[in-house]
C-alpha cells in the first residue's frame, strides 16, 4: 500500500501552519506522528494533496508544570509521556497508559495530539483525559481557546477542532484527586476502556469503540453513595443500566453482548485500581 503523491509543507510557526491549511482547504491536513494518517492514506481511505508537518515547530513537545496544571505539548509522543518524570509524578495513570498504547513503534512515532485529533473511537487517551477534566488548547492564526476534553470529542473521527485550528497543549489540573484507567486490549486498540477519577465525587467514563467517551452517571452516583464498598453485582448492574441505550458496535473483533460485558469488567478493574492508588497514596 502506498499513499498518493502529496506536497509536504514544513512551516516553522503555528501561524504559518494554520494559515497554510486555511488557504489550501479540504485537501490539506496537519501531519504529526503519522501513525494513523499515513495508514489511512496508504489504504486510500483518506486523500490529502498537502500535508502540513507540525514537527518542526518549536515548543510543541514540551512537558511540564505551569501554575496548577500539568501541560503536555501536543507533539509529545506516547513514548515521551511514558518516560516523563513530570507526568509520572503528577499523573501516573497517564504515564502507565502511554507506556502500553499499541506497540513500542507506535508509541515512539505517535503523538498525543495526533491521537486526540484523530478521535479513533477505540483509542484510550480520550477516555482518561475526559475523566481527568483536561483542557485542550486550540490555536489558529487568529485565535486561541481552551475547551474541556469532554466537549472535544463529538463522534468517531470527529472533534470540535476547526480545520485551521492546531491542538497545541493538553492541560491537566493538578491535585484534583486520584485517577485510574483500565483497558481490554485487542491488538493495537481496545475493545473497552474505563477511567475513574475521584476528588469529591467519582467521575466514571468509558470508551467502547462506537463514539466519544461516555460518562456513566448512574455508576458514578452509586460509587459516591457506597463510598468504595460497592459489590460487584451492584456495580455490574449499574454499568449495564448506564449503557443499556448505548449503541455498541458488533464486528469481527467482538460482538455487542461481549463488548457490554467487557465494559463492565473494565469499570470494575478501574475501580480496583483506583482503590489501590488511594490506599498507597500514589496518584
Amino acid at each position: 500500500m502506498r499513499p498518493d503523491p502529496f506536497t509536504y509543507h514544513q512551516p516553522k510557526s503555528l501561524a504559518e501552519a494554520s494559515s497554510l491549511v486555511a488557504e489550501l482547504g479540504d485537501g490539506a491536513a496537519f501531519y504529526a506522528g503519522g501513525t494513523e494518517l499515513l495508514l489511512l492514506m496508504k489504504m486510500q481511505l483518506a486523500e490529502y494533496r498537502h500535508l502540513v508537518n507540525l514537527k518542526n515547530i518549536d515548543g510543541l513537545k514540551t512537558i511540564g508544570v505551569e501554575h496548577d496544571r500539568l501541560v503536555i505539548g501536543a507533539l509529545a509522543t506516547h513514548y515521551d509521556i511514558a518516560f516523563s518524570t513530570a507526568v509520572l509524578k503528577h499523573c501516573p495513570s497517564l504515564s502507565r497508559l502511554c507506556s502500553e498504547i499499541a506497540n513500542i513503534r507506535v508509541r515512539v512515532a505517535g503523538t498525543i495530539g495526533g491521537n486526540l485529533c484523530f478521535a479513533e473511537p477505540r483509542a484510550d487517551p480520550p477516555v482518561l483525559l475526559v475523566a481527568l477534566d483536561a483542557g485542550l488548547r486550540l490555536i489558529s492564526a487568529h485565535a486561541s481557546r481552551v475547551i474541556p476534553a469532554s466537549e472535544f470529542f463529538l463522534g468517531p473521527f470527529e472533534t470540535a477542532r476547526k480545520p485551521d485550528e492546531i491542538l497545541t497543549t493538553i492541560e491537566i489540573p493538578l491535585g484534583t484527586g486520584f485517577a485510574s484507567v483500565e483497558r481490554m486490549k485487542q491488538g493495537n486498540y481496545s475493545l473497552a476502556t474505563a477511567a475513574i477519577s475521584r476528588s469529591d465525587c467519582h467521575q466514571t467514563w468509558i470508551g467502547y469503540g462506537g463514539g466519544p467517551p461516555k460518562q456513566l452517571d448512574g455508576t458514578g452516583a452509586l460509587l459516591d453513595r457506597d463510598n468504595g464498598r460497592t459489590s460487584d453485582e451492584a456495580l455490574y448492574a449499574a454499568v449495564a443500566e448506564d449503557i443499556a441505550d448505548l449503541e455498541i458496535p458488533s464486528d469481527i473483533e467482538a460482538g455487542e453482548s461481549y463488548r457490554r460485558h467487557l465494559i463492565a469488567v473494565a469499570v470494575k478493574r478501574a475501580l480496583v485500581s483506583l482503590h489501590e492508588t488511594e490506599a498507597t497514596g500514589v496518584h
Binding site: 503523491p5 502529496f6 506536497t7 495508514l39 499499541a102 506497540n103 513500542i104 513503534r105
Partner: protein
C-alpha cells in the same frame, strides 16, 4: 512548493543525501534506493514489526514512516549492527539459541531487542517480553527469542 523533499540522513553510520518524492516511505527508501533488504514488508500497518528499523536508537515501523521524517536522524538496519565483519552479540545469540526459523521476522526482532538493550542493558524477562510485544513470529514461538535476548544481555 516542490513535491520532492531533500533529506540528509545517516544510514548505518554512512551519511546519505537524496531528494525523494514526499510520499516515499522509509521502507522503500531503504530497500529500493539503498538496497537494504533486511527490512521486510509484511503487515504494512504497524502491527507485525517485520519492517522495524531504529531511528536515533528507537524502533519505528518503516512501512508507515515517511523518508522525509528521518531527515537529520541516524537510521540503523540490522546490516548496521555488524562491526568489522563481526556479528552483534544479539545476532550471535539468536543463532546460538535457535531463535530463527524462516528468518523473515528476525531483523525486526533483533532491532527491537537492540533498542531495549541500548536503554536498559540488563532487562528482566518481563521487560523483554514487554519490549517485544508488537513483533510477531509465526514460526518458532517466542521462548527462544526471549532466551536469546536474555543471553545477549547477560553476556
Amino acid at each position: 512548493m516542490d513535491t520532492c523533499v531533500d533529506i540528509s540522513v545517516e544510514i548505518n553510520g554512512v551519511p546519505v543525501s537524496r531528494s525523494v518524492p514526499a510520499e516515499t516511505l522509509l521502507i522503500d527508501f531503504l530497500r529500493d534506493d539503498l538496497g537494504l533488504r533486511s527490512v521486510k514488508l509484511s503487515c504494512d500497518m504497524e502491527i507485525c514489526g517485520a519492517c522495524t528499523v531504529l531511528v536515533d536508537d528507537l524502533p519505528v515501523s518503516s512501512c508507515t514512516t515517511l523518508a522525509a521524517d528521518v531527515d537529520g536522524a541516524a537510521v540503523t538496519t540490522v546490516e548496521g549492527l555488524i562491526t568489522d565483519g563481526a556479528l552483534d552479540p544479539l545476532q550471535q545469540a539468536f543463532i546460538d539459541h535457535g531463535a530463527v526459523q524462516c528468518g523473515f521476522c528476525t531483523p525486526g526482532f533483533i532491532l527491537a531487542a537492540k533498542a531495549l538493550l541500548l536503554r536498559n542493558p540488563s532487562p528482566t524477562r518481563a521487560e523483554i517480553v514487554s519490549a517485544l510485544d508488537g513483533n510477531i513470529c509465526r514460526c518458532t514461538g517466542y521462548t527462544k527469542i526471549v532466551e536469546a535476548v536474555l543471553h545477549a544481555a547477560s553476556a
